[in-house]
């Protein structure tokens, strides 16, 4: 094994940071690349306290976890290259990166860990391109990172955890949430999250969809309607709400650009956001030197992304000879235990089963 070649981690969000930290701790050379000018991915937008147990830093706010990961990576002296976009990966594991949109470099990697995250889904309806219609993540970035309010009266489409968390955070920044619309008959997010909005008087509209958005040069009102059994709006139930903002919280899709370029085989898993790279129990893709971690390997949460990153980091370090068999096994076992703890209960079981299916499928091929 050529020990001088670095492990290249793409994406400095929670998964990538944790992978890089594990590699560096084990003594492996690692380079962490991110297209943004600040590391942390979406973690610094998460101003709420996380779920889980003490081992998952439960009860700690997302940005606090982000700060401690950055501190750790700084202390370890990890080579973090920001404003660096990876635009190509070839079968020889050469990573083509463009720095500050100006210079380009080829990095020969021993292993590649892809932590490229996911993209928020759009939803098309008449008027959806109007200024004022945006993803929930866009609104979250504006209020929690830049501290500007995109609007005063907000309608949220989608009642999953993203929709209800961003709805609560919009109220914390002073906006009014005029409603949360959910096409399914039941709300999707954790009851403790929806209860925060309910007690603030936010109405939930289940079995309802957005029919159109209207306004001259920007959003002025939205029309919603109940849906029938085949999710078609029922015209007689239409009602119009005065809003200047619509936030779409209708799921995320794994970002597959780089794993596709690397030749990783994919699998369709609707529970985890759609098409995603196959991976084994160590987060290794169908290309043995390439790992996929976090949302790009199936959309879950920051807390699971961090554990997946650790899993891949440990296994990659071991595979290059930087960790003993026993150490690897021990670290993998404890990480898996923490992961499993997060994939239980009424919400987690579905994700646990989906992940099990992916791992099983990866063994068959």
């Amino acid at each position: 094994m050529e020990k001088h070649k670095p492990v290249v981690v793409v994406g400095a969000g929670p998964a990538g940071l944790c992978a890089a930290i594990e590699l560096k701790k084990a003594g492996a050379p690692v380079i962490l690349l991110d297209e943004n000018d600040k590391p942390g991915g979406q973690l610094f937008k998460q101003i709420h306290k996380f779920f889980g147990s003490r081992e998952h830093k439960a009860g700690t706010r997302g940005f606090t976890i982000g700060t401690s990961l950055l501190d750790e990576s700084l202390k370890l002296g990890i080579d973090v290259r920001l404003e660096t976009e990876v635009v190509g990966v070839d079968p020889g594991l050469r990573v083509w990166a463009v720095r500050q949109r100006a210079s380009s470099e080829l990095i020969e990697a021993s292993r590649l860990i892809l932590a490229t995250g996911a993209t928020e889904n759009a939803l098309s309806f008449p008027g959806w391109t109007l200024p004022g219609v945006m993803t929930a993540g866009c609104a979250q970035t504006l209020i929690n990172v830049y501290r500007v309010l995109p609007g005063k009266r907000v309608l949220i489409i989608g009642s999953g955890n993203v929709g209800v968390i961003v709805g609560y955070q919009l109220m914390q920044s002073g906006a009014e949430v005029v409603g949360i619309v959910e096409a399914l008959p039941s709300l999707g997010g954790y009851g403790v999250h929806t209860a925060k909005l309910a007690r603030a008087g936010v109405p939930f509209y289940t079995g309802t969809t957005v029919v159109r958005a209207e306004g001259v040069e920007s959003l002025e009102r939205a029309t919603i309607a109940q849906v029938d059994g085949s999710f078609k709006p029922i015209a007689s139930t239409e009602r119009t709400l005065d809003v200047d903002t619509i936030c779409l919280a209708v799921g995320l899709t794994p970002s597959l650009e780089l794993s596709s370029l690397a030749g990783c085989r994919t699998i369709y898993v609707p529970e985890l956001g759609g098409r995603m790279p196959l991976h084994d129990e160590y987060m290794r893709s169908s290309v043995q030197e390439v790992y996929v971690v976090g949302d790009t390997a199936g959309v879950e949460e920051a807390s699971t992304a961090m554990e997946e990153g650790r899993l891949a980091g440990v296994h990659a370090a071991w595979s290059l000879g930087y960790m003993s068999d026993d150490d690897m096994k021990e670290r993998v076992d404890e990480t898996k235990q923490r992961l499993n703890a997060l994939r239980q209960g009424v919400f987690g079981q579905k994700r646990f089963n989906a992940k099990a299916r992916i791992i099983q499928e990866s063994q068959l091929r």
């Binding site: 002073g174 009851g191 403790v192 239980q344 209960g345």
Partner: protein
């Protein structure tokens, strides 16, 4: 959970019947005996900071961490440390004395309430139930920016009151 009501998954918050069905509605005698811990966490989510925040072992989640929390009222000293520890903001402390009730609840909005504020107490769906008065605001650093607000109001509303109405700036 009640088979007839689905408030939590349609209106966003549990009804009193749904809470009662999982043993999370306090009994009136508990509320009269002293400050009474109330946890409204009726779904199996992976979370246990309430358990680890309690210095007296009065809240049990155990393994797996998706278990619903179980309260040991004998061990609870009503210190309130669990209130800001809950990421779901699902913990309150209530008490009834004569015709007045008090509640301590988590709060994360500006403007920060001030002792003496005349406020409107709300139920789980945000309906104004009765007037109230802020009697305490705890902003201790260990709460990590979740304020714990104390308020008093008419005792007859003790079961329905969960928080207070947000003031619009």
């Amino acid at each position: 959970m009640s088979a007839t009501e689905r408030y939590l998954k349609t209106k966003g918050a549990p009804s009193l019947a749904e809470l009662e069905a999982v043993g999370m509605l306090p009994k009136l005698e508990d509320l009269a005996r002293g400050a009474c811990l109330c946890i409204e966490c009726v779904e199996e989510i992976p979370c246990n900071p309430c358990e680890t925040s309690c210095p007296n072992g009065a809240i049990k989640v155990g393994d797996p961490i998706t278990n619903l929390p179980v309260i040991d009222r004998e061990k609870c000293t009503a210190c309130g440390l669990c209130i800001p520890s809950c990421p779901g903001l699902a913990i309150t402390m209530k008490r009834v004395q004569g015709d007045r009730a008090t509640i301590r609840f988590p709060w994360e909005y500006v403007p920060v309430p001030v002792v003496g504020d005349e406020v409107e107490m709300v139920d789980r769906l945000g309906n104004v139930v009765c007037p109230g008065k802020v009697i305490g605001v705890n902003a201790a650093a260990r709460n990590d920016r979740t304020l714990v607000v104390g308020a008093e109001f008419a005792a007859e509303h003790v079961l329905s009151v969960i928080s207070m109405k947000r003031k619009r700036s």
